[in-house]
C-alpha cells in the first residue's frame, strides 16, 4: 500500500506544474488578465506540491529501492503502443527533488523580480511548462517519454530567450537556440528509433536487461553516438554550444534556472541515464572525452575574455559541463552526478547575483583590494605578448566555431533553398514582379534575413488600411 501511494505521489511531480500552467493559460482565454498575486499563488502552490511529490520519490527510493512504474499505454494502434512507464530510481529521486527546490526558489525570486513586467504571466506559464518537462525528463522510463520532457524543456527555453521580444537580439538568439535544439533532438529520436530496431524496446529497464546479449553491435554504437549528440546540443558542448552565451538575452531568473542550473545539465542527465548503453561503446566514450575536454578548454578561455558578467558565467558553465562529459566518458558516473548537483547549485546562485555584479566587484575591491577580473588579468600576464594576442583573439571569437558551422552547414542549406526557389520561380515565371500590396509578391532583390536590420529599408508600400 505504502509503495503504491508513494509511487502515485512521485508520479504527480510533473503533473502539478503542468496543471498550473494550463489553469493560468485558461485564465487568459477570455481576454482578461489575471492578477499577479493570483498567478504567483497558483505557481507557488504547484511548486510546493511538486516538491512534496519529489519527497515521496526520495522516500520511495530509500524504502523500496528502484521501481519500474507502468501506467499503461498512452495509445495503441495497429499493433504498436506508446507505453507510459516511469523509472523511480536514486538518480530520478535526487534530480526530481533538486528540480523542485530550484523551481520553487525561482518562482519566489521572480514574483518580486518581474513585478509589473509586461510578460509576468508569460514567464510563469513558461516556467511551469519547463518544470513539468524537466520532472518528466528525469523520471521517464522510456526514451520516448524522456523526449517529451526534453521537448517541453526546449520550447520553454526558446520562448524565454525571446522573452524581450520587442528587441532584435533576443529574438535572433532564440532562433539560434531553436535551430541547435532541433538539430540535436534528431539524435535523441534516432537513438529511440535504433533502440526499437536493435533491442525491440525503448523502455530503459528492458533495454538494460537485453544489452548483455547484444554487445558489440554496430547499432549499439549508433545509438550511443546519437544519444551523445543529443546531449551535446542540450548541454552546449563543442561544436554546437554557441547558443549558450546568446541565450543570456532572457530574464536573469530564467537564465539561472535554465542555463545555470537545470536545462544545461539535461544532457549530462541523459548520459547518466543511458550510462549502460554508452559504456558498451568505447568509441562513444572517446567521443565524450574529446568533446568534453575541447569544450572545457574553449569555454574556459572564452569566459576569461567575456565583457559581460552573464556571458562569462555562461561560458564557465559550459566549461564545467564539459568536464562532466569527460567524467561520464571515463565512467565516473557518481562523480558526474555529484558534480552536476553541486555545479548547478553554484551557477544558479551566480546567475541570480549577476544583476549586482558591479556592486559585488566594488565590494570585493573594497574588502580584498582586488577583483576576480584582476586575477584573470594576472593570469594572462603569465603568457608572452604574441601568444596572449593570438589566444585572446581566438577566445574572443570563440575559436570561430560558429562561423565554421555557419559556413559549412547553415549557408549551404539556405543557398540550396534559394537556388531551388529560383528554379521554381523561373519555371513559373512568378518572380521578378514588383511587389503589390495584398499579393505577398517578393521584393525585386532577394536579400538575406533583414528582419531587425536597421539598414534594410523596403520600398514604401504605403500604409494600407485594415479590412474589416
Amino acid at each position: 500500500m505504502l509503495p503504491e501511494l508513494l509511487s502515485v505521489g512521485f508520479a504527480l511531480a510533473p503533473v502539478w506544474p503542468a496543471l498550473a500552467a494550463i489553469v493560468v493559460a485558461l485564465l487568459l482565454l477570455p481576454g482578461t488578465r489575471p492578477s499577479e498575486r493570483l498567478v504567483a499563488r497558483i505557481t507557488t502552490a504547484a511548486g510546493w506540491l511538486s516538491l512534496l511529490s519529489a519527497v515521496c520519490g526520495v522516500g520511495l527510493y530509500l524504502s523500496h529501492g528502484p521501481v519500474d512504474y507502468r501506467l499503461g499505454n498512452w495509445y495503441d494502434a495497429a499493433g504498436y503502443s506508446f507505453p507510459l512507464v516511469l523509472l523511480f530510481d536514486g538518480l530520478a529521486a535526487a534530480m526530481s527533488a533538486f528540480i523542485a527546490v530550484i523551481v520553487l526558489t525561482t518562482v519566489r525570486f521572480s514574483v518580486t523580480y518581474l513585478h509589473r513586467e509586461p510578460g509576468f504571466i508569460r514567464f510563469f506559464v513558461l516556467t511551469l511548462g519547463f518544470a513539468a518537462g524537466m520532472q518528466l525528463l528525469v523520471m521517464a522510463g522510456s526514451v520516448e517519454l524522456l523526449f517529451i520532457g526534453w521537448e517541453f524543456v526546449g520550447l520553454s527555453s526558446v520562448l524565454l530567450v525571446a522573452f524581450f521580444h520587442e528587441r532584435a537580439m533576443p529574438v535572433q538568439a532564440a532562433l539560434r537556440v531553436l535551430v541547435t535544439y532541433r538539430v540535436c533532438d534528431i539524435g535523441l529520436l534516432i537513438g529511440a528509433v535504433t533502440l526499437h530496431h536493435w533491442l525491440g524496446s525503448t523502455v530503459w529497464v528492458d533495454v538494460f536487461a537485453r544489452l548483455p546479449q547484444h554487445t558489440g553491435a554496430a547499432a549499439g554504437l549508433a545509438t550511443a553516438l546519437a544519444l551523445v549528440f543529443a546531449a551535446m546540443g542540450k548541454s552546449a558542448q563543442f561544436p554546437v554550444g554557441g547558443w549558450l552565451p546568446r541565450a543570456m538575452e532572457g530574464p536573469t531568473a530564467s537564465s539561472a534556472v535554465f542555463y545555470g542550473s537545470l536545462s544545461v545539465h539535461a544532457g549530462v542527465f541523459l548520459l547518466l541515464r543511458a550510462a549502460p548503453l554508452i559504456e558498451q561503446s568505447l568509441t562513444a566514450r572517446i567521443v565524450l572525452v574529446i568533446v568534453g575536454l575541447t569544450t572545457a578548454v574553449i569555454a574556459a578561455l572564452s569566459s576569461q575574455v567575456s565583457a559581460d558578467a552573464k556571458s562569462a558565467v555562461a561560458h564557465a558553465t559550459a566549461s564545467q559541463v564539459g568536464l562532466m562529459f569527460v567524467e561520464c566518458g571515463l565512467g565516473f558516473y557518481t562523480l558526474a552526478t555529484v558534480h552536476l548537483i553541486a555545479h548547478a547549485t553554484l551557477r544558479y546562485y551566480q546567475f541570480l547575483r549577476t544583476p549586482t555584479a558591479l556592486h559585488d566587484a566594488l565590494w570585493q575591491q573594497a574588502a580584498l583590494g582586488r577583483t576576480d577580473s584582476d586575477e584573470a588579468a594576472a593570469r594572462w600576464e603569465g603568457l608572452a605578448l604574441g601568444q596572449r594576442r593570438a589566444l585572446y583573439r581566438l577566445a574572443l571569437e570563440r575559436f570561430a566555431v560558429e562561423q565554421a558551422l555557419d559556413r559549412l552547414v547553415t549557408r549551404p542549406i539556405m543557398n540550396l533553398s534559394r537556388l531551388l526557389d529560383r528554379l521554381e520561380g523561373g519555371l513559373l515565371a512568378l518572380h521578378g514582379r514588383q511587389p503589390e500590396a495584398g499579393t505577398g509578391a517578393p521584393l525585386p532583390v532577394m536579400a538575406p534575413d533583414m528582419n531587425g536590420d536597421p539598414a534594410f529599408r523596403p520600398a514604401d508600400h504605403g500604409a494600407p488600411e485594415a479590412r474589416t
Binding site: 494502434a77 495497429a78 534528431i186 505577398g440 531587425g452 504605403g462 494600407p464 485594415a466
Partner: protein, 501 residues
C-alpha cells in the same frame, strides 16, 4: 433508425451547399444577406456532418453497402459514411465554415461565398462517393471554383499551372473511367462501383491504377507535381482557396481507390513511393526554410507534410497507414489554421512578405499565440495529433525503410526551424518600417478568435487523447491490411447491411 438518418444526411451534405451556392450567386443580391445565408448553410452542413460522423464514424472501410440510391434521371449515386470519410466530413465542413467566418466582410461578396459553398459541396460529394465516376466528377468539380478564381487573378502563370493541373486530372480520370467501362470488370450493371470492384474476382487493368495513382499524387502535391499547390497557396485569392486546397483529397483517393482496387500495384510501387514521399518531405522543408513570404512558407510546409503522409501510406503496413491517415487529417487542421492566420495578417497588413512585417505581437497577441501553437502542433510537438501520427508513421518505416525514417526526423527538424523563423520574422522583433506605419492592426476578434481556439483545441485534445481518433480509422487500416494482392478480396460485407437500394 441510424441507417435512415445517415441516408437522409448524405444528399443533404453535398446537395445542400451546391444549391445554396447557386442561390447565393444568382438569387440574392444584397451582400449582407448573401453572407448570412452562406454562413447559415455552412453551419447546418457542419452540424449534419458531425452527426453523420458520430453515427457512422466507427464503421470499417468498404463494409457498408446500404446507401446506394437512385437519385435523379438514371443516375445512381452510391455513397456511404464509413471510417475513411467520417472524419473528413466534419473537417471539410469546418474548414468551409471557418473560411466564411474569417473572410473580411468587404471581401465576402456573392462570388466568394458561392465559391466556398460550391467547393464544400463537391468535396463532400467526393468523400461520400463509392462510385468511381461520381467520385471523379466531384474531384474535378472541386477544383473548378479555384480555377475560376485564378482566372481572375492577375497572375497568368498561376492560372496556367492551375489549368494544367485540372486538365491533367480530368484527362487521367476520364481515361481511367473509359478503360474501366471497357474492361467491365464488375459486370455491366455497375462498372464503376468501388465496392463491387473490390469484391470482383477479376482485376482491373493496371493502367487504371496508374492513372488514379497519378491523380492522387498530383492532388497531394507530391514532388515534382507540387507546383500548382504552392503557386495556388501563395497567389490564389485566399479564403475561397482554403477549402479547395486544404483537404486531404489526394491521400483520400489513394486509400479509397488505389489501395483497395490495386493492391498488387501498390506492393510494386511501395518502395518508390516511400522514396518519393521522403524526397517530397525534404524538398518542401528545404524550400520552406528559405522563403520570405509567409504564405509561401506555409505552402512548402504543406508540400513537406504531404510527403510525410505519402511515406506513411506507402509502407502499406498497419502503423504506417494508420500514421499516414492521421497525419493527413492533422496536417489539414494545422496548415489550414496557419493559412487562416496568414490570410488574416494579409487582410490587415496588406502583405505577407515577412520582410515588411515583424513586431506584430504587440498589436495582436492572440494572433501571435495562435500561430505559435499551430506551428508547434504542426511540427509534431508532444501532446498534439501530429506527434502521434509521426510516431506511428516512423514505426511503420522502421523495419523496411530505416533510412527514410531517419530522413523524416531531419525533415521534422527543418520544418520546425522554418516555421519558427517565419514566426520570428512576422510577429517578433522591433518590426519593419512598413509594419510600424500600419494605421491599424487589429487582433483576432469574434469568430476569428473562436475558430482559432477551436482549431487549437482540436489539435490538443486529439493529441492528448488520440485513441478515439485512431479507433475511427482502425477499421479502415484493418480492412486495407486484409486486401489480397492477387484478386483484391476484402472482408465480406455484413449481409444485414446489404439492401438493393
Amino acid at each position: 433508425m441510424t441507417h435512415d438518418l445517415v441516408a437522409l444526411a448524405i444528399p443533404l451534405l453535398w446537395l445542400f451547399p451546391l444549391l445554396a451556392a447557386f442561390v447565393v450567386q444568382f438569387l440574392i443580391r444584397e451582400p449582407t444577406r448573401q453572407r448570412d445565408v452562406a454562413i447559415g448553410v455552412a453551419w447546418v452542413v457542419f452540424a449534419v456532418a458531425m452527426g453523420a460522423f458520430l453515427l457512422n464514424g466507427w464503421d470499417s472501410h468498404f463494409d457498408r453497402d446500404d446507401l446506394e440510391s437512385g437519385l435523379f434521371m438514371s443516375l445512381r449515386f452510391h455513397m456511404a459514411v464509413d471510417g475513411l470519410n467520417a472524419l473528413l466530413l466534419p473537417m471539410t465542413a469546418a474548414i468551409a465554415l471557418a473560411s466564411l467566418l474569417s473572410t473580411p466582410r468587404s471581401d465576402l461578396r456573392g462570388n466568394t461565398a458561392a465559391r466556398i459553398l460550391a467547393v464544400e459541396g463537391t468535396l463532400l460529394g467526393c468523400f461520400l462517393a463509392l462510385d468511381a465516376a461520381t467520385l471523379s466528377l466531384f474531384w474535378v468539380g472541386s477544383m473548378l471554383p479555384l480555377w475560376q478564381d485564378t482566372r481572375r487573378s492577375k497572375s497568368r502563370p498561376l492560372h496556367l499551372v492551375m489549368t494544367l493541373a485540372i486538365a491533367a486530372t480530368t484527362a487521367a480520370l476520364v481515361a481511367a473511367l473509359v478503360i474501366m467501362a471497357g474492361a467491365g470488370a464488375a459486370g455491366s450493371a455497375s462498372p464503376f462501383d468501388l465496392l463491387a470492384l473490390t469484391q470482383a474476382t477479376t482485376s482491373l487493368p493496371p493502367i487504371v491504377g496508374w492513372l488514379f495513382l497519378f491523380v492522387a499524387l498530383l492532388r497531394m502535391g507530391i514532388f515534382p507535381m507540387h507546383l500548382w499547390l504552392t503557386a495556388a497557396g501563395w497567389r490564389a485569392p485566399g479564403y475561397s482557396a482554403m477549402p479547395a486546397l486544404f483537404t486531404s483529397l489526394g491521400s483520400f483517393g489513394l486509400t479509397r481507390v488505389v489501395m483497395p482496387l490495386f493492391p498488387r500495384l501498390c506492393e510494386q510501387v511501395s518502395t518508390p513511393l516511400v522514396v518519393l514521399g521522403a524526397v517530397t518531405a525534404l524538398y518542401g522543408a528545404v524550400l520552406a526554410v528559405g522563403q520570405y513570404d509567409l504564405r509561401r512558407v506555409i505552402s512548402y510546409f504543406w508540400v513537406s507534410q504531404m510527403g510525410l503522409v505519402l511515406t506513411g501510406l506507402a509502407t502499406l503496413n498497419a502503423p504506417g497507414v494508420s500514421g499516414g491517415l492521421l497525419q493527413a487529417m492533422s496536417s489539414v487542421v494545422e496548415v489550414c489554421g496557419l493559412m487562416l492566420i496568414a490570410l488574416e495578417v494579409e487582410a490587415r497588413a496588406g502583405t505577407t512578405d515577412m520582410r515588411l512585417l515583424g513586431g506584430l505581437v504587440r498589436r495582436a497577441p492572440r494572433l501571435t499565440t495562435g500561430f505559435l501553437m499551430l506551428s508547434t502542433a504542426a511540427v509534431g510537438f508532444p501532446g498534439t495529433i501530429s506527434f502521434v501520427a509521426e510516431d506511428l508513421a516512423i514505426q511503420g518505416l522502421l523495419y523496411d525503410h530505416p533510412l527514410a525514417a531517419a530522413l523524416l526526423l531531419v525533415v521534422t527538424a527543418i520544418n520546425g526551424v522554418a516555421l519558427f523563423k517565419a514566426f520570428k520574422q512576422t510577429f517578433l522583433g522591433p518590426g519593419s518600417q512598413h509594419a510600424k506605419d500600419l494605421r491599424s492592426f487589429a487582433d483576432l476578434r469574434g469568430w476569428e478568435y473562436r475558430a482559432s481556439v477551436a482549431l487549437m483545441a482540436t489539435l490538443l485534445i486529439g493529441g492528448l487523447m488520440p485513441q478515439p481518433l485512431l479507433a475511427v480509422r482502425a477499421g479502415v487500416v484493418d480492412a486495407l491490411q486484409k486486401l489480397e494482392p492477387a484478386a483484391a478480396h476484402v472482408v465480406a460485407p455484413d449481409d444485414d447491411d446489404d439492401d438493393d437500394g
